[in-house]
Symmetry: C2
Subunit: 237 residues, 2 copies
């Protein structure tokens, strides 16, 4: 399997969880450094390049993952071969929770950007979860969050006209890091796969937004966003 080899080669070595900068904000928040001493199997890290597959739907593997950096798409393939993107995994998110229940993965997980992940053996997480109520609760929170996001995906990104959906998606992807509202778009094909519209329709609408000045190119794939105009389009407009 291609991705298996690529995974092995991408190992960056053992994770130093005690030093991990994002430790407090992710799954193991609430764990003390000493708790990691209980872990005998080492936690390994992997890196993925855009297009690399992390895991496949139906595959059974006792591992879940936290994303330290990058962006992962969860994909399902339809009977006719086209794909539908079901959810995005962002930095500090967890994916592959199915592994905790010995269930096969529900989606294909594919990197959209250069990504770094920690690989967590399901047995260890299950054990820590039993011993540590805070981690256990955090796990439930993760599940709940994934569910809430799935529902929002349905109501925001799969409802209304194509124009509304694109507007909502861009708003969803936009955030302000001090220099005004900015967002990074991905390929038109992926936009289409997220919204349930064709590549051409996605392209037309994005191009139209640019002509109207609602999107202003900053660099390749990165735009300055007129959030007010988009908010208007997202509702009735």
């Amino acid at each position: 399997m291609l991705e298996k080899i690529s995974l092995k080669e991408a190992w960056t070595g053992l994770a130093d969880c005690g030093q991990c900068a994002i430790r407090k904000s992710v799954l193991f928040a609430g764990l003390e450094v000493q708790d990691f001493g209980k872990i005998h199997d080492p936690i390994v890290q992997i890196e993925l390049a855009p297009g690399d597959t992390l895991y496949r739907a139906g595959e059974r593997s006792p591992r879940l993952f936290t994303l330290r950096k990058g962006l992962i798409k969860l994909v399902r393939y339809l009977p006719d071969g086209t794909q539908r993107i079901v959810r995005l995994i962002r930095s500090t998110d967890v994916t592959g929770l199915e592994a905790l229940l010995d269930k096969p993965y529900e989606h294909h997980a594919i990197a959209m950007q250069d990504s770094e992940l920690c690989v967590l053996p399901a047995a260890i997480v299950n054990q820590l979860s039993r011993e540590n109520p805070a981690l256990h609760r955090e796990l439930l929170n993760r599940w709940q969050r994934a569910l809430a996001e799935a529902d929002q995906w349905l109501t925001d990104l799969s409802t209304g006209s194509a124009r509304q959906r694109v507007a909502r998606l861009i708003l969803h992807l936009t955030h302000d890091d001090g220099d005004g509202p900015r967002c990074t778009l991905f390929s038109r094909e992926e936009i289409g796969a997220m919204l349930g519209i064709t590549t051409e329709t996605a392209s037309r609408i994005v191009a139209d937004f640019r002509r109207r000045g609602i999107l202003r190119t900053i660099e390749s794939k990165r735009y300055e966003v007129d959030t007010e105009a988009l908010a208007g389009l997202a509702d009735g407009g």
Copy 2:
């Protein structure tokens, strides 16, 4: 609040969990009768008529529910006032898991049929979950199942042409109780709200299926289904 009164009046009294026929197949499978002795607060049952609201989005209440009989829809309202049905709760399903995390409900829960539910105080379920690994695992399973269903809703019922979606929905609702494949449809408006299409489009397609003999009326709202024809339409057709 109207629904609050209606809930009170609909109480059918305390549940006899030890005798509950569906106990083994639902959330508390794995619990012994004696475990119920630990429960001090009584578990109450409620009944709902079609259209009754079980809970509202944003509402915070320390209660979750198992559906003993009937059908519940989970609904989100869009900015323009139209509704989108996000998931169905069927017999033996659990809803309101958010309450376990002290979070407000994510949807409006509205009965579509005469329904009977058990009301489970979140504190009790949390306590039993801590003491009983089997229940705890079953809870995780419920969460996972809800998530899988949400994703399937997106890929099956919110993707492709209106005709494909209706075909998939009917297949989804069809099952064979020995006398051939049958299904019970609900109102055209609700079909539309589930699939993200208009009432008229839903009506046209259902009417067309009937003319073609793909659906044959048995009684009001109940049909005999040509599953093969529908399967063809659900994919490429």
